[in-house]
């Protein structure tokens, strides 16, 4: 069934319809309310702000769940600029759960590091709102606005530790390179608009399908620039150079947040634009090559560079680049399984990575983040449960069954093989085998007896919220690795309803 024939039944455009963007509106409202609440909350009571922001996230999550049952037939709202479909809502759910987990680990970490300011929470909510808009954006303009909203909030957050040069460096680097990336993105959008005369994805898709076989080089340039802008956000190689520095410099709770949610949201936009707008068109053969090589480059560079790291945050940064490469396989292959695999991988990546970073926040010292490999040595002797959880997360990142990470990789490789792209799967497994080395090295360090002359470190108690986060992410990692059907069914339903062309 071609797209043009499918459009009338699938897409019933609605005009102004606040219900279609309710989760985003609630979270945005929470962001504004927090700004005001911060004025009347004393320094001693900032934990309440965390509580309030959690409440806003929970309310938004509730409306996301409600929306899921409301979107048996997906449609666009606001005259085609925003997709109200299960794909967006699924990604919303990942973003919201991740945000909630980050909010739970934040107060203890911020207090220890002396960074507990009220703006933190409003900025987190602002960024999350932008991400959710990005997940549902079905117009180039909304994509750009959403990216700007989330980026600006994240620029500030990564420099949140004003007294530390590294944090400042992270913010500046992120700002400068992010500004460039936004420029690429906008320029690409302008070229695509110039070529097709549309900004809405639905119309771009039908314009390209009826365009015939000739491909204008300017259109391809536009697509390439758009991809660069999005690849920067998912930190795919070779647009990844900011990642390790920013991840290391930013406060760990911010790193936790941005490493997961930004990637999830940007991948949602990437899939919506590339797989479902530019997918079943004659430009696919062109952009496929581009994404293909970026995927391989990410897997190789991410995994090889991670081998030589000695800081946990940097290692997880490079590991995130590599994981992004695996998820890109799900975009390249252009089949339904690829999208489901990417969604499953994103969910798995979210629980696992938040868990791993949560361990680093729990370990944080008063003056600095204890994120060097040395400070991890012997963790199992001091904190057996924290170490066991970290071991689980590392195994999941390494793709060992029965954890979430295994099935993420499994579905991605399966998608590649079903699309007759076996070499892509082989690149994936070769780099996976390399990655086992550095994940297991860290896992082993935790179970190695601390050196005799190693300064004993005063470990703080894990807060109740921190323990809950570890419990949740640990259980999630195992559930996604054993009871696969639970999330697979949901991800499959999300893929089924994706706009602009859910029939792919």
């Amino acid at each position: 069934m071609t797209l043009a024939a499918a459009l009338p039944t699938l897409v019933t455009p609605r005009g102004i319809d606040i219900l279609g963007i309710l989760p985003e509106v609630i979270l945005g409202g929470g962001f504004v309310a927090l700004l005001l609440l911060d004025l009347v909350t004393g320094p001693a009571h900032r934990g309440r702000l965390a509580g309030f922001s959690l409440f806003a996230v929970a309310a938004s999550f509730g409306s996301t769940v409600w929306g899921w049952f409301d979107t048996a037939t997906p449609h666009t709202v606001y005259f085609g600029s925003f997709a109200y479909d299960r794909f967006g809502l699924f990604v919303n759910a990942i973003i919201l759960v991740s945000t909630a987990l980050v909010l739970m680990i934040s107060p203890q970490y911020l207090n220890r590091r002396g960074l507990h300011y009220g703006e933190y929470y409003s900025l987190i909510l602002a960024a999350a709102t932008g991400m959710m808009f990005l997940a549902g954006a079905s117009s180039l303009m909304v994509i750009f606005l959403a990216i700007e909203l989330l980026s600006i909030a994240l620029y500030i957050l990564s420099g949140f530790n004003r007294s530390e040069p590294r944090s400042q460096e992270a913010a500046l680097k992120y700002l400068l390179l992010g500004g460039f990336a936004s420029g690429f993105l906008l320029f690409g959008m302008a070229l695509i608009y110039g070529e097709t005369g549309h900004t809405q994805l639905v119309q771009i898709a039908s314009a390209l399908q009826s365009a015939g076989t000739s491909i204008d080089p300017l259109l391809m340039a536009g697509i390439a620039l758009l991809f660069v802008g999005l690849a920067f956000k998912i930190s795919a190689a070779p647009f990844h150079t900011w990642t390790p520095d920013v991840y290391q410099g930013a406060p760990t709770s911010v790193t936790t947040f941005m490493s997961v949610t930004t990637k999830v949201a940007a991948f949602a936009a990437l899939i919506r634009v590339f797989t479902y707008t530019l997918g079943e068109t004659n430009v696919y053969d062109r952009w496929k090559i581009m994404v293909y090589f970026v995927a391989i480059a990410s897997m190789v560079i991410g995994n090889v560079a991670a081998l030589r790291q000695t800081s946990l945050k940097r290692m997880l940064g490079y590991s995130g680049i590599a994981q992004g490469g695996y998820i890109l396989i799900g975009v390249v292959v252009l089949n339904p399984l690829g999208t489901v695999a990417a969604l499953y991988y994103l969910a798995a990546y979210a629980v696992t990575n938040i868990g791993a970073f949560a361990v680093i926040t729990i370990m944080a010292g008063r003056g600095e983040d204890m994120d060097s490999y040395d400070s991890l040595r012997g963790l199992a002797f001091r904190r057996p449960y924290v170490a066991a959880a970290m071991g689980l997360f590392l195994l999941s990142l390494g793709g060992f069954p029965p954890t979430a990470g295994f099935f993420g990789k499994f579905f991605v490789f399966a998608a590649a093989i079903h699309a007759n792209q076996v070499p892509l799967a082989l690149w994936g497994i070769a780099t996976s085998a390399v990655s086992v080395f550095y994940y297991l090295r860290v896992a082993l360090l935790m179970y190695t007896r601390p050196a005799v002359d190693q300064p004993s470190y005063d470990w703080s108690r894990t807060s109740l919220a921190g323990g809950a986060v570890l419990l949740f992410t640990g259980a999630g990692t195992l559930i996604l690795g054993i009871f696969v059907t639970l999330i697979y069914t949901v991800a499959s339903a999300a893929q089924h309803g994706v706009l602009p062309s859910g029939l792919l």
Partner: protein, 523 residues
């Protein structure tokens, strides 16, 4: 009542590992007692199941399974929780339960640092290896196959001598690389069969294409998809076994690992590679395995001779045993790749035999090292007089190891040689050289340790303790018992062996050709 017995055997060690967490770290006696009880209970259950197997219902189809259980797991991609045992897995399962019990007994007799972690990991490893042996669904099999590395990694990396870190990483990366190739092959197999299932009994006979793949641009034709998929499986299994030239991880690892780990690692974990060939190599790739059997059998012969020569030239006890293990595993591999009933039967018998022998050998080496403080064969002599009981047990193990008629190895190796002769007399001849070499290195080991006047190192050693005798006694008894009365082993194994060999030689093709082959297939 319809009890899912196999699930019980799978969950029992896992449940025990979890319950173990409730016991305080300092209560070492309780930890040890609990671990031994748990492995003993599992072992008794498994042995009863295996002994009573032939009287139970058997599933229909070209491969028959007993105690079958099937539940949906991931219906969207056709993965199922499908477990069952047949004559091939039954004996290895019995061996599996036995060596873990022995490992637990040995652990409980010595003081181990971080005992609770060790016991927990031991029980987890047993869960995983049991799962490997029970799984009929390919994805479930992979889950256990790869999951097995997790407890093994922590066990090998935390316990053993100072070189263990390097050796362990080498092992893990080797095996992970092999396993991942198998994963790709599994997915390709499921996709190519077009039956939307990972179940061995379902995709059996769903042939992959046998047209050679052509590399675009270069226009070079390579192996067919079926052959590539077989090579993916073969990589995983050949590394795990290991077959020369994929063996380089083994001597280092065996040298650095502690004895209780070695008892079940050498005893059963390395046999799982052979089991993988038997279960999946023979059945899923009838064309490919017939193409590659010459090569694989040749590598098996190389393993036999190479392992034997290395065992002859090394002076470290553990390395000698490690290389002898490569040599013996070569026999098992040779038996499998003969693709005839004799060879495969011999391989199954030899898997069990070697599991018992190698566990006993490592136990003895461990005792000798503990008593004398060295593993260097040049510093050891005259234990015969100092340790008469050990001498007795070691003699039985030595004779079993060199394939003396009347001992268990003879039955296995003889049957393998019969099969090899049927394949090509040259293989049998070369394997015969291996048997001669085995006599040589086993006797060198035995005489080196036992004869001549005692050296300063061995002057004042005590004999084995009673419990050590109690562990060695049933093993020695089994070596003799299987040697003189091997029929039960063959009786249970042969129906399944015959079925698998028939499938490997294309019995299914005639059946399948009647059915129009399914094409395409949605995920």
């Amino acid at each position: 009542m319809n009890v899912p017995w196999l699930t019980v055997t799978l969950v029992a060690p896992l449940g025990a590992a979890l319950l173990l967490q409730l016991i305080p770290r300092t209560a070492t006696r309780l930890l040890k007692g609990f671990t031994v009880t748990a492995t003993l209970a599992t072992a008794i259950l498994v042995w009863v199941l295996v002994a009573g197997m032939n009287g139970t219902a058997i599933s229909p189809g070209p491969l028959g399974f007993h105690y079958e259980e099937a539940h949906t797991w991931i219906p969207a991609i056709g993965a199922a929780y499908h477990v069952g045992i047949d004559g091939i897995s039954a004996w290895i399962l019995a061996l599996n339960a036995g060596v873990f019990l022995l490992g637990a007994v040995v652990v409980s007799s010595r003081s181990t640092e971080r005992l609770k972690l060790f016991c927990g990991l031991l029980l987890l490893t047993e869960t995983m290896t049991t799962g490997v042996l029970l799984s009929i669904d390919l994805l479930l099999f992979y889950l256990f196959w790869e999951g097995m590395l997790i407890p093994l990694y922590f066990m090998l990396a935390n316990y053993g001598n100072e070189n263990r870190g390097r050796a362990t990483l080498k092992f893990i990366i080797y095996t992970v690389a092999g396993s991942l190739l198998m994963l790709v092959a599994i997915i390709a197999l499921q996709f190519a069969s077009g039956r939307g299932s990972f179940d061995l009994t379902v995709i059996l006979g769903g042939q992959m294409s046998r047209q050679p793949l052509v590399i675009p641009w270069l226009n070079i034709s390579t192996f067919s998809p079926e052959q590539w998929a077989f090579l993916g499986f073969a990589a995983a299994f050949a590394i795990k076994m290991p077959i020369v030239p994929f063996h380089t991880w083994l001597p280092d690892l065996y040298e650095s690992a502690p004895v209780p780990v070695l008892m079940f690692f050498a005893g059963v974990v390395s046999k799982l590679g052979a089991y993988g060939f038997l279960r999946f190599g023979l059945t899923l790739f009838p064309d490919a395995i017939n193409t590659f059997k010459w090569l694989l059998a040749a590598l098996a012969v190389v393993s036999i001779i190479y392992g034997a020569l290395m065992a002859l030239t090394n002076t470290d006890l553990k390395r000698i045993v490690a290389y002898s293990s490569i040599s013996h595993l070569g026999f098992i591999a040779l038996g499998i790749f003969t693709l005839n009933v004799n060879g495969v039967n011999g391989a199954v018998i030899q898997i069990v035999n070697h599991g018992i022998i190698i566990a006993a050998l490592f136990l003895i080496v461990g005792i000798v090292e503990e008593r004398t403080g060295t593993r260097d064969i040049r510093e050891l002599a005259g234990l015969e007089k100092r340790m008469p009981w050990l001498y007795g047990f070691f003699l039985v193990v030595t004779l079993a190891g060199l394939g003396m008629p009347g001992m268990n190895s003879f039955v296995g190796e003889f049957t393998v040689m019969l099969g090899a002769f049927q394949l090509n007399p040259a293989y049998a001849l070369l394997a015969g050289v291996g048997v001669v070499l085995a006599c040589w290195y086993m006797l060198r080991l035995h005489q080196g340790l036992m004869q001549d006047p005692p050296t300063p190192r061995t002057e004042n050693v005590r004999d084995i303790r009673p419990w050590q005798g109690l562990v060695l006694l049933p093993m020695a008894a089994l070596m003799v018992l299987i040697g003189v009365f091997p029929r039960p082993l063959g009786d249970i194994a042969s129906p399944s062996v015959q079925q698998s060999v028939a499938v490997a030689n294309g019995s299914l093709e005639s059946v399948i050709t009647g059915i129009p082959s399914a094409s395409g297939g949605a995920p």
